[in-house]
């Protein structure tokens, strides 16, 4: 299999290194694969990191340490406690702070020679091309499909390589897309999955170390692109299974019929990616008009008044162990098989963590002929917020 060879992304390195930098990068400079020439290329390079979260954290840390001259970061989020299990660029003291500011501080502490450019914005079709213009390499550390397709298309249209990484639970993928000779993300996945089919980290969970593994693989690929050395992941999809500690590799080909990077592209400008992915907003608390709901306060009122209410918990057993309302546990995927355990003559209130899975449960039960079913709006999280703060949130 021939490796695709591309020219290095940073053509001319004009900066110099002072004595402090030479000392700092000594372990790079004494390696023939990097040397003074390579280190100057790193210093001249401008890398845009989209996301300062799970993948972004280790990526940014290592690129800063390596001496990438300019690091742009796009993130509009604020640090919260659930991030700290894996987003290692942020610390406990940063909770409540903007991720951009927290990341900038950490970068300055590791390497004051790095110039940080912060972009506190939601990347979208209006700003992406302009943003990408001033950078040499784009790194995709985002967490949703619309943005991944946006980043890909914007990279192809601006001629910038897209160093891709993605994770789910304990599995990851990495590759380099959108180079001239190589495939783009759409060559691999022409269509996104329907919304709700692939859960997010908040719903599926993620092994904390996994973005560490994949993020550093991305950082490695960025460095190799800048130096123009090694065998890049262009044209290869690296699959990481952290639990089995297995690494597999699949061949990726440029699709000549790809609508974005093929020989006759039909996508020549950025589109509405939310629409492309079939969603109208974030998949958070899903409540549609057709799903009958009950607010946590109302449920509490009715329970206190002695009403006979059957609470159905559709979460997983390990969630039940974290906290529960004493409900009857039937995990959502088992519901079709176990529906005969439920008494349709009773008033049933279904709940999950945030209201999404239980909405599906209510829909299913209504279709199965249950008449007295309600969805607890906002789930056990809302119960914790509005009724009983002693119930832990997770």
């Amino acid at each position: 299999m021939a490796t695709i060879v591309e020219k290095p992304v940073v053509a001319n390195a004009t900066p110099t290194l002072n004595k402090d930098e030479i000392l700092r990068y000594s372990r790079h400079l004494i390696m023939p694969e990097v040397g003074m020439e390579g280190q100057l290329k790193l210093k001249a390079a401008k890398v845009l990191c989209i996301g300062a979260g799970g993948l972004g954290s280790p990526l940014i840390l290592y690129l800063a340490a390596a001496g990438v001259g300019t690091l742009g970061i796009v993130d509009f989020d604020v640090v919260d406690f659930t991030n700290l299990q894996r987003q290692i660029i942020h610390s406990t003291a940063d909770v409540g702070r903007k991720k951009l500011d927290s990341a900038e501080q950490t970068i300055n502490e590791i390497n004051p020679f790095v110039e940080v450019k912060k972009f506190e914005t939601l990347l979208n079709s209006e700003n992406a091309l302009q943003l990408f213009r001033d950078f040499d390499v784009i790194v995709d550390g985002t967490d949703n499909f619309p943005t991944r397709y946006l980043v890909n298309d914007a990279c192809v249209l601006s001629g910038k390589p897209n160093v891709y990484g993605s994770i789910f639970r304990f599995e990851g993928q990495a590759s380099v897309f959108a180079t001239k000779e190589g495939p783009c993300y759409r060559c691999l996945y022409p269509e996104p999955p329907p919304p709700g089919l692939v859960p997010s980290c908040a719903e599926g969970g993620v092994l904390g170390i996994l973005p560490g593994l994949v993020g550093v693989i991305q950082a490695t690929e960025v460095v190799k692109l800048i130096l123009g050395s090694g065998d890049s992941l262009i044209g290869r999809l690296l699959l990481v299974d952290a639990l089995g500690m297995k690494f597999r590799e699949l061949k990726l080909r440029k699709n000549p019929e790809c609508p974005v990077c093929g020989t006759h592209p039909t996508v020549t400008k950025l589109i509405d990616y939310q629409q492309f992915c079939g969603i109208r907003g974030e998949e958070q608390k899903v409540t549609t008009e057709a799903i009958p709901q009950i607010q946590p306060e109302e449920l509490k009122r009715r329970l206190d008044a002695g009403e006979d209410i059957f609470i159905l918990d559709v979460r997983e057993p390990h969630e039940y162990q974290i906290c529960n309302l004493g409900g009857y546990l039937i995990p959502i995927n088992d519901l079709p098989k176990r529906v005969n355990e439920l008494d349709s003559s009773r008033q049933i209130v279904a709940h999950c963590k945030m209201g999404g899975r239980s909405a599906k449960a209510v829909e299913f039960l209504k279709q199965a002929g249950f008449k007295n079913v309600l969805n607890l709006a906002g789930g056990i999280n809302a119960w914790s917020d509005k009724v009983d703060p002693k119930v832990p949130k997770y």
Binding site: G51, G53, G54, L55, G56, D77, N83, Q87, D140, G141, T142, D143, N144, F145, R148, G165, S166, I167, F168, R169, F170, E171, Q173, L188, Y189, P190, E191, P192, P193, L197, V198, P199, S200, C201, G204, V206, P211, L237, L239, D241, G244, R248, E249, L250, K251, L252, R253, N255, N333
Partner: protein, 90 residues
């Protein structure tokens, strides 16, 4: 032959990361798989029986779209991978 089941689909394949299947083509191997685990069917196929576009299938390290698609021949010792798109990064 072994089919590698990606994480998002393992809950529908009895929590297995690989499943042993038989079949002379990818279509037969996948049919063997869904015969063992019926729940997988709707995640791999649309209602009219087509392989879903965001699910890629590889025989060894080659994408079947560039081989003979579902008619790609398979033999003992081959490794089939199902690779769906995942997006997590935060």
């Amino acid at each position: 032959m072994k089919i590698h089941i990606p994480t998002p689909l393992r809950q529908y394949a009895g929590k297995n990361s690989t499943v042993d299947v038989k079949g002379g083509t990818v279509a037969e191997a996948l049919a063997n798989l869904t015969a063992q685990y019926d729940d997988l069917r709707r995640h791999l196929y649309t209602d009219d029986g087509k392989l879903r576009a965001f699910v890629n299938v590889y025989v060894n390290d080659e994408d079947i779209r560039y081989l003979q698609k579902e008619n790609t021949p398979t033999k003992e010792g081959d490794s089939i991978s199902i690779v769906p798109s995942i997006a997590g990064g935060f």
